[in-house]
Subunit: 472 residues, 2 copies
């Protein structure tokens, strides 16, 4: 694990310097990490917690770092010594990876001396914003097709980490594999890939290229058929080579098409493969595909068994930032009393929710589906199964009484007084949990265009506190 | 430097295994790395070469890597031994960082045994695609204002590397600093940052927060004034604290506004600061700004001395992938003859240019401005100053005769027979070179909306070769 301690905004350091010099460094503070949502981000898939934990575990400023900071001529030696001795001593709660999270719900909360909690803002955001964004996009893509999705985006990722952790996020979301070898090695996930156009071009003819490939990988022969002309050359050449493989007792794996009209080409290719006696040969498609293209290919009856998806997934092309923020929710005053805080804004959606909170999800006892979420203050008792009335905090006359439900607290303990109390699940377990969470959502909330907006209400007590602070 | 050798697509490995087993591993091949362009990417700013070189210098597969690859059950021991002994032995040419590059021009070419050249495809693309994308976006942003631009995007970057190397790319493009401390340390660039809303919220009042900050940083006091109410509280409180600073003999640095109507608020704030005797106090603006917002703020006469730009720059929000590709242009046949290659496609723009090439830029002798670019075959002589007629390769009747010009070859030697022959300039030198390149472009090519399309033509010899191969 690299040391990401300096991968932060300078103002985190000037601020904690300020807290230190003002005698406030040890005041307990609560920060919430959350996102605000848009039509395309009406929900998100939590990812990146494991790397966030690695970051927290590894925070340290070595001599070289301290020397660099000293050279900025902003800080005094006492402060640099305190920084060199940094060790996280607070609490972190977070939603497990794979969870569905809605706008304004804390994905993660930090309660710690403000010196520590403030320092971690930028890096926690970088890690969680990125992986959550990609997991969300990948989840939408994976769930727009019954075919398997392979993550193929490394070359178009925004740098090495984006490729690596983007592949991880895609696996959380249900991708069946990745082309990324380092991701395969680091995260123990299946890697896949066969050959590119350059393979075909480096032989005197496509047929020779296919033959050479089949000879090397007779039992996993998947041929890229669109270097020259898919239907007139690529597929017939592939079938020729498949016949040669079949004569030797091998079943060919299939073909890949990377360009052109994928609906038409795959239907024709399917027909040709079937007629040639290869109904079991798979057709893989790739090339600028996202959830919208998938819907269209589905509607046109494209014959595609698996997809390799690159640019659009690995960059979350249509919305390339989650926009998550990390906001102060409470801070201890000079008398040791926790004072809830909110950030006011002319834009109503930008006003934050004060105090340390929990997120409660209501499940219908009959269907198992989720009904609504409630953000409550930490010390409030959980709804106990009796009919419970919730209301829209932006239009309080809109109420709903929930009956026949059970509740779940969504944030779990990660750190307690500086001690890591959470065991990260395996990537397989996370991916399985994500599928459970998706299964609990009604389809209208998952719809890609104009999804129905899921209810995330505030408890009466939290709402009253917010109103009180706003009027002050 | 991390070892990125396994940060590649699996198919690069299956292909080089194939070349090896087919006895083709040592055949010389030429690959071009280029992008295809769109309206928003009518040109790009080359970046990432230094990291690409670090990657090539560091390619090695250690025992753990070889063990992982062995476990995939795809490769034999001979191949793994060859991989473990990998050392780049070929030539690389590239455009220096900061250069302006146009669609279809090689940014970088590799000529090496195909075993080596193919292996490097994905990683070279990941590095150069990313930094070139961000440098291009940042260049457009920086050039849309006369105010200084600071890169503030780390928290919204697509992972740690995206933040780090995105900051580097922004500096190439002319940003005056970054908030990213690690980028400051690694690339020796100015870091900046003051405080966030949480600083203000963690004090009983805004005024107390400002006072505490001013006391700590009296000679560089820049206050964020939009936590509660910019014009009724933030600016008046800032002026109060500035007066206290002035009484102690300090000149305050200024204010930052991070939300709201930046045009209106900055004009009002400017007036208030001027009236209070602080015409030298700077106004910094931030919050979801990009080149389009800058144009609008300019048009409205916003009073802004510097910008902090985050999400839109660090993700290249409107176009989050460059889409660069790495295509085979030539390969040695079994008789040792280099055979030019092209990739055919139903989409005319996707047909590649065959053979090893160079890029020549024509400059007008009078204005010093660039006139057009010409992609030529490597062995063609440079235009020698005599009138030279170029033509549009997609519409050959469109010709232009260039007179009174001088030429420059854009690709320079980076590696020669495996030896690094290039010394990377400093980031400052790269940024200065980029400004020179921008100064050589007529404004119409740099226009943000509907830019005029710059002429990139093919030499007659290259055009003829392409046509010959297409007809075959």
């Amino acid at each position: 694990m690299r040391n990401l301690s300096l991968l932060t905004d300078l103002y985190e350091l000037t601020m904690i310097y300020g807290y230190y010099k003002s005698g406030m460094a040890d005041r307990e503070a609560v920060f919430d990490l959350f996102f605000r949502g848009t039509e395309e981000l009406s929900y998100a898939v939590v990812a990146g917690l494991e790397q966030a934990i690695e970051y927290v575990e590894n925070i340290h400023f070595d001599e070289e770092d301290i020397a660099y900071l000293r050279g900025l001529n902003l800080f005094d030696e006492d402060f640099l010594a305190k920084l060199a001795a940094f060790r996280f001593s607070g609490d972190i709660q977070a939603m497990p990876e794979g969870s569905i999270v809605y706008p304004y719900e804390p994905i993660l909360t930090v309660r710690a001396p403000i010196f520590e909690a403030q320092l971690m803002e930028t890096t926690l955001l970088t890690i969680i914003n990125h992986q959550t964004l990609i997991a969300t996009k990948a989840s939408k893509i994976v769930n727009s097709t019954t075919a398997g999705v392979m993550e193929f985006g490394l070359r178009r990722a925004q740098g090495p980490d984006a490729g690596l952790y983007g592949a991880r996020a895609a696996m959380i979301a249900g991708a069946v594999g990745t082309s990324n070898v380092l991701a395969g090695q680091m995260f123990d996930v299946p890697v896949s890939g066969t050959h590119a156009h350059s393979w075909v071009m480096s032989f005197p003819s496509e047929l020779e290229a296919f033959r050479a490939y089949a000879e090397l990988f007779p039992s996993s022969c998947l041929l890229l058929v669109d270097t020259y002309d898919v239907l007139n050359e690529g597929v017939p050449n592939a079938i020729k080579v498949f016949d040669e493989l079949a004569a030797k007792g091998y079943r060919p794996k299939g073909i890949r098409i990377d360009s052109g009209d994928l609906a038409y080409l795959t239907k024709e290719a399917r027909r040709m493969l079937d007629e040639a006696g290869y109904p079991d040969a798979k057709i893989c498609a790739s090339g600028d595909i996202d959830e919208y293209v998938l819907q269209s290919l589905n509607a046109q009856g494209a014959c595609i068994d698996s997809y390799g998806i690159g640019t659009k997934l690995i960059t979350s092309y249509t919305v390339p930032a989650l926009g998550g923020v990390y906001k102060l929710a409470a801070i201890e005053d000079e008398n040791g009393v926790m004072v809830p805080k909110l950030k006011i804004s002319a834009t109503v959606e930008k006003i934050t929710n004060p105090g340390q909170k929990k997120v409660v999800r209501f499940f219908d006892n009959e269907t198992g589906k989720v009904i609504a979420d409630l953000i409550m203050l930490l010390d409030e008792p959980l709804p106990d199964g009796k009919p419970y009335t919730i209301f829209d905090p932006h239009a309080t006359w809109k109420t709903k009484t929930v009956v026949n439900y059970h509740c779940k607290e969504m944030l779990v303990d990660i750190y307690s007084r500086g001690r890591l109390v959470y065991t990260c699940p395996t990537l397989k377990e996370i991916a399985a949990y994500h599928q459970v969470c998706l299964g609990q959502m009604w389809e209208q909330y998952k719809r890609i265009t104009k999804p129905h907006i899921y209810k995330v209400d505030l408890s009466q007590k939290l709402y009253d506190l917010k109103m009180k602070l706003l009027h002050e």
